[in-house]
């Protein structure tokens, strides 16, 4: 007898590899998904009675493939395949039929499955929706809730994305080294998008909050396949370290708590520990990339026992590396925060003022600028920046956070008037 929760967890864990292998057989997303669904139905019946197979993923691939072939045979009135219910473990049946899938085959299968979700013609939101539906196996309803759209609208969006992908043609040839690394780059970006959807959700937004866990699961999957890639390590470590603060990032009202005000006892130390160790491993490769540098920055924050003990000089240096790797005004803006700690708010302000033209539509620019002006005692200028930030806030929590600064400004100026 097998616990239904165990079966559920095993099915979820096996899904990416199983669907990816079935996609290789059928070369069609819908067919692969259908075959996998059928295999899951049979697993629910079979495993509960016969116990779990030794290798659930191979079992699902095997049964899914047979079920689909079975359907074809039935339609052409041929003899049906032997019933898998007679065996609990398909080890014997499976070996001669399905080639033993080695790691490298899984690797290209799963990479392909993830890669087709990041077709360049698909906007980011559709890439994420498609990956969540196909790779992670979330229901359309779950995804619709996460994106705050109706189920029918999301269904349509996913169908359209699938059609576009099908039109583009799925790349089935085994990729060469360069192509593999290009695919990996696109896939990592997509996984990080999924993570950010979850990360930016407020604490009450459970539908979207779960996406961070989902992205971490995909990150682990990638690292299992590309265990010596420093950037894959960097991506997983970055997500683990950022997610470690999840319980401390919002207060009881759902408002953002800044890093400096967070209760560090509420950080998840297991995630920090794992993230820090992975960064340590990756650094040994002496091949740095943007995810790894960002993870290293997050690791420095995570290691500081108190905000005041943060090693800002190292953070400044890491941001300088990041600016060099991927020049962007947003990175300079982040670096300015570190500079304000080491060289003071005026130096930081001088650094970000030239960015105004590029970042005038960016919430964080005005928020950070307001914060620096406030530190310099320029209350009125700060107020203006905060007002702009509020008008650009993406979430209620972001707006509430800035409003808190404004409230404090008003309170201070009233105190000053009274005095």
């Amino acid at each position: 007898m097998t616990d239904i929760a165990w079966i559920d967890a095993a099915l979820v864990a096996s899904r990416p590899q199983a669907v990816a292998a079935l996609l290789r057989y059928f070369r069609d997303l819908d067919a692969a998904e259908e075959a996998y669904q059928e295999a899951c139905l049979r697993a629910l019946k079979n495993w509960a009675v016969n116990g779990p197979p030794r290798d659930p993923t191979s079992w699902l691939i095997m049964v899914g493939r047979n079920a689909a072939l079975d359907g074809v045979r039935k339609r052409s009135k041929q003899v049906a395949m032997p019933d898998e219910e007679q065996v609990s473990d398909l080890e014997d049946v499976e070996t001669p039929m399905a080639e033993r899938l080695d790691e490298s085959q899984y690797r290209d299968d799963v990479l392909r499955l993830l890669f087709i979700c990041c077709h360049p013609d698909l906007p980011a939101t559709q890439q994420i929706a498609l990956a969540l539906r196909i790779v992670s196996g979330l229901s359309v309803k779950q995804i619709a809730r996460a994106f705050l759209v109706g189920e029918a609208a999301m269904e349509q969006r996913i169908t359209r994305a699938k059609a576009k992908v099908a039109e583009a043609g799925v790349p089935f040839e085994t990729p060469g080294a360069v192509e593999r690394s290009e695919r990996l780059g696109a896939v990592m970006a997509m996984v990080y998008l999924v993570f950010n959807e979850g990360y930016s959700a407020g604490p009450k937004d459970e539908a979207r909050g779960g996406l961070a866990d989902e992205a971490i699961r995909l990150g682990r999957l990638l690292l299992r396949m590309f265990s010596a890639e420093p950037e894959v390590m960097g991506l997983l470590a970055l997500m683990l370290l950022q997610h470690s603060r999840a319980d401390a990032r919002f207060d009881a009202k759902g408002d953002i708590v800044l890093l400096e005000d967070q209760d560090r006892a509420r950080w998840r130390h297991k995630l920090i520990q794992e993230g820090v160790v992975i960064v340590e491993k990756a650094v040994r490769h002496q091949k740095t990339g943007p995810y790894l540098v960002q993870a290293a920055i997050a690791a420095i924050h995570a290691r500081a026992p108190r905000f005041e003990e943060t090693d800002w000089a190292s953070i400044d240096a890491l941001y300088a590396t990041l600016e060099r790797l991927t020049p962007s005004p947003v990175i300079t803006l982040n670096r300015a925060v570190a500079v304000s700690k080491t060289k003071g708010p005026q130096a930081a302000l001088d650094m970000i003022e030239p960015l105004e033209a590029k970042l005038s539509g960016y919430f964080h620019f005005h928020g950070a600028r307001g914060g620096l002006l406030l530190q310099l005692g320029r209350g009125n200028d700060a107020r203006q920046s905060f007002d702009k930030a509020i008008s650009l806030a993406n979430t209620a929590a972001e707006a509430a956070h800035i409003r808190m600064h404004i409230d404090r400004l008003i309170a201070d100026s009233e105190k000053a008037k009274r005095a």
């Binding site: 929760a5 967890a9 095993a10 979820v12 864990a13 096996s14 659930p56 866990d213 699961r217 682990r220 999957l221 690292l223 299992r224 265990s227 010596a228 390590m233 997983l236 998840r268 297991k270 520990q273 794992e274 160790v277 992975i278 340590e280 491993k281 040994r284």
Partner: protein, 142 residues
């Protein structure tokens, strides 16, 4: 007789547990731990970080590989718990051992939870235990 009980499971699945699921299992385990600890029979136990955090030193070529030890030919013959500054120091430790004991590999896996269990009176000497086992006394074999 002292035993090491090695814990195996599907990592993909266990890592996929939600925080609540994980806590539920840990609580249930805690009940079992407590029972054996009270009886004085549970010695140190550890929960390891996932294999994503593992590094392996292949002794023959002094080769450091990311990830866990994946070969199935070798068997697990022993383990050490060490408290070091970082991965580099763990590697230094492993290399010292490797010089004394060539062949095979050392997998270095960070420990997430360390529970000391019932204190072990004095230093534990494996041979002393064997000596007390009647059938293994040299005279018994004679």
């Amino acid at each position: 007789m002292m035993y090491a009980v090695l814990c195996y499971n599907d990592e993909q699945m266990v890592c996929g547990w939600s925080k609540e699921q994980d806590e539920k299992v840990m609580e249930a385990l805690h009940v079992a731990h407590e029972k054996w600890e009270k009886a004085g029979k549970l010695k140190p136990s550890v929960r390891l970080l996932p294999t994503s955090a593992a590094t392996t030193l292949h002794k023959a070529k002094d080769m450091v590989i990311d990830g866990p030890y994946a070969e199935t030919k070798e068997a697990l013959l022993g383990l050490y718990l060490i408290d070091v500054e970082n991965l580099d120091e763990a590697l230094e430790f492993s290399r010292d051992l490797a010089r004394a004991n060539p062949g095979g590999a050392y997998e270095m896996r960070p420990i997430h939870i360390y529970s000391p269990g019932t204190p072990i009176p004095g230093a534990y000497v494996a041979e002393r235990q064997y000596a007390n086992t009647p059938s293994l006394k040299p005279e018994a074999v004679k």
